[in-house]
């Protein structure tokens, strides 16, 4: 007898086995698995050569990666922010945190309003992962910034900004019709400019 609409029973028991495996594995294994997933997505998003299937991997979106990068960036910059009071440090943390999430939300909304057919969280996931180069430059400048003249500091900032923008622009531009591409891409450019500027001035 053929099962046309149901899955054969052996799959259910396989799924049960998987679930018990998840519950039984140690915390470190779970964390390592999540970290490996984040690292895989990061490589996929930031190194264009890895994308052979036109961004289909992004359908498995997750917000862990963006959250980690957002927190690391906000903490790096607020740690570095010089101030006599703690209020400036918390100002910087709040501004960066809100800027990343609200910014990603508005940029995605903009692409949707321009007629782009994209899942909201897919786009936020991509924009969040592309914040990683800005993380790198923020950490470089946090550690070495005081020893370098301004012009030398500008080089990693510009490079990482270009890298972030280039990685996300390809995806965003593919979402909307051709005569609206620049309208979808400009907000992405502005978003990463804001973040790069912060990492430069703090």
């Amino acid at each position: 007898m053929e099962y046309s609409n149901q899955r054969p029973p052996q799959n259910y028991s396989q799924m049960d086995d998987q679930k018990t495996l998840d519950l039984e594995e140690s915390v470190s294994e779970t964390i390592m698995r999540d970290l490996r997933m984040i690292a895989f997505k990061l490589k996929y998003v930031l190194i264009p050569k890895e994308q052979e299937d036109n961004g289909k991997e992004l359908r498995n979106w997750d917000l862990w990666g963006p959250l980690i990068f957002c927190l690391v960036l906000a903490m790096t910059l607020s740690f570095k922010a010089e101030s006599t009071t703690t209020s400036t440090k918390s100002d910087v943390f709040a501004i960066i945190f809100v800027l990343i999430w609200v910014g990603a939300f508005i940029v995605t909304l903009n692409a949707q309003l321009l007629g782009g057919k994209v899942s909201f969280f897919q786009s936020v996931c991509l924009l969040g992962y592309c914040v990683f180069p800005i993380n790198i430059e923020a950490i470089i400048i946090a550690f070495f910034g005081s020893y370098l003249p301004f012009v030398v500091k500008l080089i990693p900032v510009l490079l990482c900004f270009a890298w972030s923008a280039y990685s996300s622009v390809g995806f965003m531009a593919s979402l909307v019709p051709p005569h609206k591409k620049k309208l979808a891409v400009y907000p992405v450019f502005l978003f990463y400019l804001f973040l790069s500027w912060f990492s430069l001035i703090v």
Partner: protein, 240 residues
């Protein structure tokens, strides 16, 4: 006796074929009318139905402010992309440029304190000018003064009127008092003339309509005063 169908109804394996319905009915759930139509994404999609060429033409119209061509440029298709991203760009320029201008004036460059409040004030000021004020004015014009222009036409016009400030505020980074005033005044003139020229057909109709010109001018003047006295203020040396 049950009829299992004639031989013609058997498929190649000899199973009895049941009759398939000839008309396929596709079940499509009817879109539920939303309780709040203004709250949906679909309502605003019609305001993003423009191309990059249109945005360029509209910005050009606003920079050449003395020509009353904006309504022709818009052609009954007001957009919200322009107002939103022009105002966001201005916020960035105010935040970055305002602090940069202070930095250039500062003698003690090593201990320069970045003012993050600029961000909050810029967001409040620019979004109020680009959205809150035109919505209020648009509602007054449409429902009280019976104008033909809709609320979003006014929002679109106000948004594009701010485009001149992108260039003006970048130039205001130059830390010379007279230069900053000159640039801000020319920005004010450009922006106000743009609004008045394009609303002139409506303003000249009646006395109440003429009164609308007053808040337009007042808000624009207030805007550049805020720019000058908050973001690009000069630091005077204090004699102890």
């Amino acid at each position: 006796m049950q009829n299992f169908g004639s031989n013609d109804d058997l498929d190649e394996k000899g199973h009895v074929m049941t009759e398939q319905p000839k008309i396929k009915v596709k079940f499509e759930p009817k879109p539920k009318p939303s309780a709040c139509p203004i709250c949906t994404v679909e309502y605003y999609q019609k305001f993003f139905d423009i191309e990059q060429r249109d945005v360029y033409m509209r910005v050009r119209c606003s920079l050449l402010s003395w020509k009353p061509e904006f309504q022709q440029c818009v052609a009954k298709n007001p957009d919200l992309w322009g107002p939103l991203w022009i105002s966001t760009t201005i916020i960035f320029i105010l935040f970055a440029g305002g602090n940069l201008s202070r930095f250039l004036l500062e003698e003690d460059k090593k201990h320069f304190q970045y003012e993050y409040n600029y961000m909050y004030v810029a967001v409040f000021l620019v979004y109020a000018m680009a959205f809150v004020i035109p919505i209020i004015l648009g509602v007054i014009m449409k429902y009280i003064l019976k104008s033909e222009l809709g609320v979003f036409d006014i929002v679109c016009m106000y948004g594009y009127s701010l485009s001149v400030y992108i260039f003006v505020l970048i130039l205001c980074i130059i830390p010379y008092n007279e230069a900053q005033w000159f640039f801000l005044m020319s920005g004010l003139a450009n922006s106000t003339i743009f609004l008045l020229v394009n609303l002139w057909d409506f303003i000249k109709k009646s006395k109440p309509a003429l009164m609308i010109a007053i808040p337009i001018i007042v808000f624009n003047v207030a805007l550049i005063l805020c720019f000058k006295f908050y973001f690009f203020r000069l630091i005077y040396a204090v004699d102890d």
